[in-house]
């Protein structure tokens, strides 16, 4: 395994009265798809939110490409792109304007802006609706806008939090293809999902969370072990606890 792009060390977090994370550790490397798996409420989203600096950990630490999320949050944000299931776009801006706005806020230089935006529009096959207002786009097209704005500043780490949960089969497949393509470009791709079947097909390595703790971690095949699939492996791990 190459050096860790994202290193999570004994992370703890309490939200309200709920202890959501109980000492989670994991490492994701560049050039791999790393699966963060577990049922709803396991702590996946909270972990990702801490990694991308939206939340602060109560204990433990996170490093992204050598930058600590607490001491250098802006440096971390420059290097991270996040795609979530909640496809929020600015409805009165066009797809292109949505992407340009995030590119500018992410520090893409004026001289490069148009080229960068055109490049992602082409890469995600969005040119046909680039100038349409976002309010008139389909869910799949909006999801593409969400991906485009997350990658327009060319981050080294890409995080997908349940990215396909609101999408149809075709749009979901495009997302999966995009993750595979990003791995090929040497990006560190973190894929958070409760659909273990998807993870099994895509992920090089996985960490399974349950009630805020890591129950298994390692290469996908190793975690599956002798079981028929990851789902069976997960159920057995949970029942043991």
């Amino acid at each position: 395994m190459s050096p860790a792009a994202v290193k999570v060390d004994r992370l703890e977090k309490t939200l309200g009265k709920n202890k959501v994370l109980r000492g989670i550790s994991m490492e994701a490397a560049s050039g791999e798809i790393f699966g963060l798996l577990g049922p709803n409420g396991a702590g996946k989203t909270t972990t990702l939110r801490i990694v991308c600096t939206l939340l602060a950990p109560d204990a433990g630490s996170v490093q992204v490409l050598g930058f600590d999320t607490m001491s250098a949050p802006e440096e971390v944000r420059r290097r991270v792109g996040v795609v979530t299931a909640d496809i929020g776009v600015y409805p009165r801006l066009s797809a292109r304007e949505n992407i340009s706005y995030f590119a500018e806020l992410s520090g893409v230089a004026d001289g490069e802006l148009e080229g960068r935006v055109d490049a992602v529009l082409n890469r995600l096959d969005m040119t046909s609706f680039a100038n349409q207002r976002a309010e008139s786009l389909s869910s799949g097209q909006k999801q593409k806008v969400a991906i485009a704005r997350a990658i327009v500043h060319d981050p080294a780490v890409l995080m997908f939090d349940e990215p396909t949960s609101n999408l149809d089969v075709l749009a979901s497949r495009e997302i999966r293809n995009f993750m595979v393509e990003s791995r090929g470009r040497g990006k560190c791709v973190i894929f958070s999902t409760h659909v273990l079947h998807d993870a099994e097909r895509l992920c090089d390595r996985v960490t399974i969370l349950h009630e805020g703790s890591v129950v298994a971690t390692g290469p996908t095949a190793e975690v599956r072990g002798a079981h028929r699939d990851l789902e069976d492996a997960f159920l057995e791990l949970v029942e043991k606890r």
Binding site: L15, G16, R49, C52, T53, L54, L55, A56, E74, E75, R77, R78, V80, V82, T84, D86, I87, G88, V89, Y90, P91, R92, L93, E97, Y101, F102, E104, L105, S106, G107, A146, R149, A150
Partner: protein, 373 residues
């Protein structure tokens, strides 16, 4: 500064593509002239309208001519007291030594007719008394031992016009600055959360303080545009529509003070409404949170309406909004500015704006902002 400009530009683009904002701007520009037209027509109609006096008995010689000339039409009725309830505006019984009058004070027409009748009778009685004295060889000036010769310091017509503006303009200024930017403020705060763009926005490396400042600037500009559109259209309308028998206008000094106050209030209200919007989960909840603001802000303007000669000491100028109303009133009525009052007002509104900005920033950077969304 660059990221500030990026956020500002994007917010302005969204605001001007929002139908709600454009409608609000259009209404702001049209509403006040429309109100002025109504006020002008009503006041003109009231001045020229004739009212009916139902009477019985014999009208003293010459009084009928005076009453008709004052816009009172005489109509003989069997029971003036009963007729005064609805049929006519006043009921009068002329008796040899006195006049009995019946009117309903809850009816405005009855009040106006009563005033006219009292005026005419006063003049009639004075003329009769003067004639009687003259007949007896006595100087009628005896009836008016201390005649008053008034020397108004300014034109009474201009003063009446300024008084009208001093009631009306603070209302327009405050309500338009508040409502003009409210929709944009809620859209830029609660709206971010509702359409789920907040998380992506906070994921950019741009400091949150700059994002918030860009939003406040955009909301301030739209509030200011709204207030200036409303007041500008009103002043333009006043040049065309006569009020109180004259064309009312605003002096350059009062106009400058008003623009300055509008800028301060816009900054202040933008911070307040953005803070409230940040607390809200969605646009609708933001509107509910903002409702009390209407009462809080309109209340100080009402003080001027109900206590026109309210002349407080300088400490009152520390109270936000009330201070703006007082300074604007003084600038309009007296065409002068008390610099200490303006200085305290400016400091008070800037301090209020900064406090609200810090509050909004604290809310904007709290983890619960994301967790609750």
């Amino acid at each position: 500064m660059k990221t500030l400009a990026i956020v500002f530009r994007k917010e302005m683009r969204e605001i001007f593509r929002d139908r709600r904002t454009l409608i609000a701007l259009g209404l702001a520009a049209l509403a006040t002239p429309a109100v002025l037209v109504v006020i002008s027509q009503v006041s003109t109609k009231t001045a020229t309208q004739t009212y009916t006096v139902g009477y019985s008995g014999d009208i003293p010689t010459g009084l009928d001519i005076l009453l008709t000339a004052t816009g009172l039409t005489l109509e003989q009725v069997a029971d003036p007291a009963a007729a005064a309830k609805q049929q006519v505006d006043l009921g009068v019984v002329f008796q040899p030594a006195e006049i009995d009058e019946w009117y309903d004070p809850t009816r405005q027409s009855a009040q106006i007719a009563d005033t006219r009748l009292q005026t005419v009778l006063g003049q009639y009685n004075a003329a009769k008394a003067a004639a009687a004295l003259q007949q007896r060889g006595i100087d009628p000036g005896l009836l008016n031992p201390l005649p008053i010769k008034a020397h108004p310091l300014s034109s009474p017509v201009t003063a009446a016009g300024n008084a009208f503006l001093s009631f009306f303009l603070p209302y327009i200024l405050i309500t338009m600055v508040l409502t003009g930017g409210l929709s944009a403020a809620l859209d830029a705060s609660a709206g971010e959360r509702e359409r789920k763009t907040l998380e992506s926005l906070l994921l950019t490396p741009t400091p949150r303080s700059r994002i918030l400042l860009g939003k406040i600037l955009a909301v301030s500009v739209i509030s200011l545009v709204s207030a200036i559109a409303a007041i500008g259209s009103m002043l333009l309308a006043l040049t065309q529509i006569p009020l109180l028998g004259t064309h009312v206008s605003l002096s350059p000094l009062a106009a400058s003070v008003m623009v300055w106050l509008a800028i301060l209030l816009a900054g202040c209200f933008s911070s307040v409404t953005l803070a409230l919007g940040t607390l809200a989960k969605n646009f609708r909840q933001g509107q509910a949170f903002s409702t009390p603001l209407y009462f809080i802000t309109v209340f100080p303007a009402s003080i001027i309406l109900f206590i026109p000669d309210f002349n407080p000491n300088l400490a009152y100028y520390l109270i936000p909004i009330l201070n703006a109303v007082l300074v604007l009133r003084d600038a309009i009525v007296h065409n002068s500015v008390a610099w200490p009052a303006l200085g305290i007002t400016t400091a008070s509104l800037v301090a209020t704006g900064l406090i609200c900005w810090f509050a909004a920033l604290r809310l904007f950077t709290r983890e619960t902002l994301l967790i609750r969304s």
